[in-house]
Amino acid sequence: MDFQPHHMLGNFNLLDDEDENFDYQLLHHNGEQWLTFRLGKETYGLDILQVRELISYPDSITRVPRMPSFLLGMINLRGMVLPIMDLRKRFEMSDFETGPFTVIIIVQIKSKVIGVVVDSVVDVVNLQNDNLLEAPDESTDLDAKFVKGLANLRGEMVILLDLEQLLAPEELEQLNMLR
């Protein structure tokens, strides 16, 4: 059960030459790179430094007994056993389906590795620091503590997730209790 890098990866427009607003300088000097992806109707962003790789949805995920439903289970990624969390279930989205575009983003925070399921991956973008907005409390359906900020990307709002908060042990522990 080996996973190929996601087939969509080759199609990413990492450097959008057509975009006259694009500032190459930013790529390496200012701002940060974010991986954007879709969950339901909204676009979210993850700090690219936390992203390890993308894999397609595996054939089998071993269910973990007595875990909340958003923890789908564990997979074997080249000999490493990783938990998989479905962000759509985590954020209690109602209707979604797992199709050919469903992707697992393998993220790494310090030495911890986890896969998160999202509807589809969109792009890798540069955001200047002054593009970032403070997240108003009521702006999204999400708990404000999971949102690092908002960004305006060519007229579209991107919700930048604070992965560390989302995967904080206290957070997961609390969910264990709720089960």
């Binding site: 071993t62 074997n76 997961l172």
Partner: protein, 675 residues
Amino acid sequence: MNFEALPADEFLEEAQELLQEIEESLLLLEEDPVDQNVIQRLFRSAHTLKGGAAMVGLSDLANYAHEFEAILSQLRSGTLTSTPEIVSVLLKGKDNLSALLNPIVGNSTSSSTHSTNENQSTDQLTDIPSQQEFQKSDSKQDSPRIQKDVYLLHLHFDQNFLEQGQEPLLLFRQLEEFGETTVIVHTSLIPPWTEFDPQKLYLWWSIKLVTEKEAEEIDELLEFYRGKESELLIEKVETPAEEEKEVQEAHQNMLQQISAGESVDPLTFAESTKTEDEGPQEAVEIPKVSQTIRVPVSRLDRLQNLVSETVIRQARLLSLNEAIQATDDQLGEQFLQFVEDNEQAVRELQDQIQQVRMVPVGTIFSPMKRVVREFATRHQKQIKLEIYGAETELDKTITEQIQGPLMHLLRNAMDHGLEAPEQRREIGKNPIGTITLQASHQAGFVVVEVKDDGRGLDPDKILAAGRRLGIVAEDHHPSEQEVLQLIFQPGFTTTREVTDVSGRGVGMDAVKKDIEALLGNIEISSQLGHGTTMKLKLPLSLAIIEGMLVRVGIETFVLPLLLVTETLRPLPKQLKRFKNRGELIDIRGQYLPLVRLHQHLNIENAIEQPEEGLIIVVQQGSQNYCLLVDNIEDQLPVVIKSLEEHFVHIPGIAGATILGDGSVCFILDVAAILN
């Protein structure tokens, strides 16, 4: 405490390699006596050896290597041509170098006994340069000998010696130029650290000097180092060459004495040992070059990981075989043959790497002797520690991780288990309490026991304490074994009311947790008035364990085989139901609690009737339980993958493994499920 006992391990390793090289080069030299490359190589090896020896303070070895090097230098310059005779003398010289190294490498007997030998051989070596005299060099008596005297110097320098810019090492070097020295450091004057002043010199030295020089010359040298409060003494030891050995012996005894913490007048010792002379010393046997290599544990870990991967792939091959056989019978047959051969090799590989990681459990037993001794003196108890099976081998990591828990159990046994001597005498026991540490191999795992012959655990008192603490309900009447298990409850004896109970259990929950984290088991048995036994059952390795693959509903899990005592399909009549105690299964008259795994793991569509599924009897603590599963799929070695580092701690799951088809399978944490 002497210089000779301090060589760095790196040097010892290097020295053995160098000596090996020297020997090989010498043999090459015999074949081609004028090969400059070989001579150069020899010279370099000898030179490196000399430098290294001097650096770690092995002056005997350094001096000898120096002589050795001098001859090689003559070979190099051509003033001496190598003949078979020269080569054999050099080979002998190399053996002597090994002999000088061996007491340090092997059993650390003091090297002073060897210095007599070494004197001979040095003489032999220095004789070589003149080829005419070379013929005589075989017999030591024939070689001319200059009269040498032996002096004992006792050097107490002024405490402010260092502040005055003086340096004892300078003196030692100068003395070395006079002749052969053996230096002993005395640490008896070092004050407690509270009064320790790093600027001051607290050490003093005794030096044995074998030299041709007169006492006056030595005294002149010492003059430079005298200070206000210094006390520098020179004693001439009247020893003709034949009696030198006695001094050596006295010296050696003194060394032992000093390392035991006392300082002794060397001369009185020489007197006292004179009578015990045991005749001529036999030639030192030269042990073979050590056949071991040192490898960092991290490298072994990596190797272990690779082997683990191979074990997983082997399982993969097995499952692939089924698919192949389904399509092509003949090919499948051939493939199966291959897979089975490979299986053997992989098993062997796994066993071997496991072997390499094994250390005798005695390595953690030995420090306990000291702990027991100290405890006994401090608490006026008389304790005898008996150790059995110290040679039993266990994975290095496991050995390290059980050290803490074992120490805890030992302290408990000493503190709470054993009674005071008077009390023991009153009740007719031997006033000396015995604690037994015992390790042994049992099928696929290791058992370590800590046993005392003390007062034992009192179930009534424990139960009373349990009720008082609210752990045990008033109307519940647990079995004796259940009562004993109470001591593993967190906080069981942390309250004051419980101190009148036998007290055992301080931190016992931690001990239990540590053992269970290793996928092991801890069992108590106790007889009131006769003692307590704690029995630890541990897997041989942390990386790969023997597992039983069981199916529950559509899911499979691994049970550590170490915990499984038997498996059976019960008859309906074996199933009993008791009020308050739930379902029990009657196994040969023993009623064991039935645990439906599917209920605990929340799995649907699993077999619910014990007589339709299978019962796996597992041991948890001292109690056996019946786990209900649908079926047993396989029994296999499983590679443990830790889950802890990846965000989720899952109660009831000890870890995961990867099966032959690449899927993830969980290893059940039996202890957590049953609690």
